[in-house]
């Protein structure tokens, strides 16, 4: 297969930046396929070429298959990278890309259909003999029928988008009283986020850990796994903090789960980067779903294994990535990722939108920042509230936690509120520190909006002094000195 000279990116935000960087390193040009709302973003400024594929609403741009294919063709690309979310797990899109004579950077449409559709995936898992959580995955989507199935499984029951991922279109039903409202709501969210209202039901495990395995199928079809990640810290089924490797697995469990992950991916003829998600409770694991795409939390795997999954995806699509059987991969140290959401933690996490002011990510060893927006860009209400990811690596889990807390404290985001104070609280929580958290960690300990600690007298005086300096005013309650770089330099000498 010929090498790509230009790749189209059917995505936005930080993942678009991540893909552009991988392409740049490989000497490949990029075409960003963006909506009207995303002109003020880093990816827009970094891409070799940009093509507007539609207005802000996702159905008219990022979820529009034809607009994306046409954009890639018009932009002179030979391949499309779908990132994650949007059309990344849409088999019809992968097929449309192929039909247009382009390469879809990801698994084949057949693999996406058999593994990515959560209902078909469970059939495949049964074939492979993988343990499953009890549930309903039928075609009958009538709400009344779904409610009766939920009753049969027994509450609590979880309702999920069949075509989805990332927590959208996913609800926890605790009793029959709220079943109808939540199922209908999940169907609407599924339609809006993934273009299909199909949902399925599953028994909710009440003290499970979320463990997933990164799998990778090379150009020859050989599948290996790149170890595990733990993502038990979730709110409304949306991951907040992820880490590699999981603090919860014994060597034996890790081996068995890794083998199971490879077995199902091999059965689904998987090519490229994918993730097999499991729930682990009382030493038993159950297949949750397979995500047929790059995962938001892929950097933690990259950090502990020293690999570049995005470049591997591109090379695999070019037909030139083959696993080296002599290379034995062993995870080194510990890596944690925190998702930075534009939301107000003191108001229960309502989205915060607007013009981004100053943004500072403190540099240092073992720190990595993936972000899609910079000062002067606008955070709009149209898309996912995740504006950045902070990733750290250190020798051990306790040191990685310690580093992450420091890094978050030193990070500056002005203009929109972020969940940083909330993340710091979570990272400091006893259960997280011990590594015993389950998927109910957030609802158990952080169901209330974060309490804002009152400002100290010093904080207030600093604010007053800062305001005077910003306005170029004179002295007042606090004595101020000019913000000359030399002033701060000489002081420490």
């Amino acid at each position: 297969m010929a090498k790509f000279s230009r790749i189209a990116i059917a995505n936005r935000g930080e993942v678009a930046v991540r893909i552009i960087k991988a392409c740049e390193e490989l000497g490949i040009e990029t075409v960003l396929l963006h909506s009207e709302a995303d002109i003020n973003s880093r990816a827009y400024r970094m891409a070799t070429k940009t093509i507007c594929i539609g207005p802000a609403p996702t159905a008219e741009s990022y979820l529009n298959i034809q607009a994306n294919v046409n954009g890639a063709l018009a932009g002179g690309a030979q391949a499309i990278h779908p990132g994650f979310g949007f059309l990344s797990e849409n088999a019809d899109f992968a097929e449309a890309v192929q039909k247009a004579g382009l390469t879809f950077i990801g698994p084949s449409p057949e693999s996406i259909r058999s593994l990515g559709d959560k209902v078909h995936c469970k059939d495949l898992a049964k074939e492979a003999g993988l343990p499953l959580v009890p549930g309903y995955q039928g075609e009958n989507q009538d709400v009344t029928h779904l409610i009766s199935q939920a009753e049969k499984i027994g509450y609590p029951v979880i309702v999920k988008a069949a075509a989805g991922g990332g927590g959208r279109g996913m609800k926890l039903i605790k009793s029959s009283a709220e079943a109808r409202e939540l199922i209908e709501s999940a169907q609407r969210e599924a339609q809006s986020a993934f273009g299909s209202p199909k949902v399925f039901l599953e028994k909710y495990l009440d003290r499970a850990k979320h463990i997933e395995f990164q799998v990778f199928g090379d150009s020859t079809g050989k599948v290996v796994h790149f170890f595990d990640r733990e993502c038990s810290v979730q709110r409304r089924h949306q991951k907040i903090i992820e880490e590699a490797t999981s603090p919860s697995l014994t060597d034996d469990l890790r081996r068995r789960m890794g083998e199971a992950a490879c077995a199902i991916a091999t059965l689904g003829k998987y090519k490229g980067a994918g993730t097999v998600e499991f729930l682990l409770q009382d030493g038993e694991f159950y297949l949750l779903e397979v995500n047929t795409r790059l995962q938001v939390e892929h950097p933690v795997t990259e950090e502990v294994l020293g690999v570049d999954l995005v470049k591997m995806q591109i090379l695999t699509a070019q037909g030139e990535y083959v696993h080296d059987p002599k290379q034995i991969r062993v995870p080194r140290g510990h890596s944690i990722e925190c998702r930075i959401y534009a939301e107000n933690p003191y108001l229960g996490g309502v989205p915060s939108t607007g013009l981004l002011g100053q943004v500072q990510w403190p540099e240092g060893p073992g720190r990595r920042y993936e972000y899609g927006f910079a000062e002067g860009d606008t955070i709009t209400p149209y898309y996912d509230p995740m504006i950045a990811k902070v990733i750290v690596w250190d020798e051990s889990r306790p040191r990685a936690i310690q580093k992450m807390i420091r890094v978050l404290k030193d990070s500056v985001v002005f203009g929109v509120h972020t969940n940083i104070p909330y993340l710091i609280e979570i990272l400091s929580h006893k259960e997280f520190v011990m590594g015993t958290m389950t998927t109910r960690f957030i609802e158990t300990y952080f169901s209330e909006p974060l309490k804002e600690t009152p400002l100290t007298e010093t904080d207030k005086k600093v604010a007053e002094g800062a305001l005077m300096q910003l306005r170029g005013g004179g002295s007042g309650a606090a004595e101020t000195v000019a913000a000359s770089p030399w002033a701060s330099y000489w002081r420490g000498v």
Binding site: S185, R188, L470, V481
Partner: protein, 122 residues
């Protein structure tokens, strides 16, 4: 920008920026805001309706209106559904009463702080 403020002879370093009348400060590992009175009017507190009305807690789209004017409503009951950043948010009544007026339509993009529903107290 970086500022240094001297308090009782001790220098405190901070980052600060004025954005539309709000002062943003990062000091001692923490970001906080202060309204300075300048710029736009301080907006209504987001996050909940003030007793007799339901206020949009964020900018977003109204996806479902569950109760129409004249309907009885009790505190905690869901009144409408909004979508913002691809997530659904159910907005609930804070008091018992009767739905007075509904000031939005399904599909409408509403601004933060907009009064969406008026409730007549029981």
């Amino acid at each position: 920008m970086e500022v240094t403020v001297r308090i009782d002879g001790v220098d405190h370093k901070a980052q600060a920026q004025l954005i539309k009348g709000t002062l943003w400060v990062h000091h001692n590992g923490r970001t906080f805001t202060m309204e300075t009175g300048a710029g736009r009017k301080s907006r209504k507190k987001a996050g909940g309706g003030s007793s007799d009305q339901i206020i949009a807690p964020m900018p977003g789209k109204v996806t479902k209106i569950l109760l129409s004017p004249g309907t009885q409503v009790s505190a905690g009951q869901a009144v409408l559904v909004m979508e913002a950043m691809k997530m659904e948010y159910t907005l609930k009544a804070e008091i018992d009463g009767v739905i007075g007026s509904v000031n939005c339509t399904v599909g409408e993009q509403v601004a933060l702080g907009k009064s969406l529903v008026q409730i007549k107290k029981a």
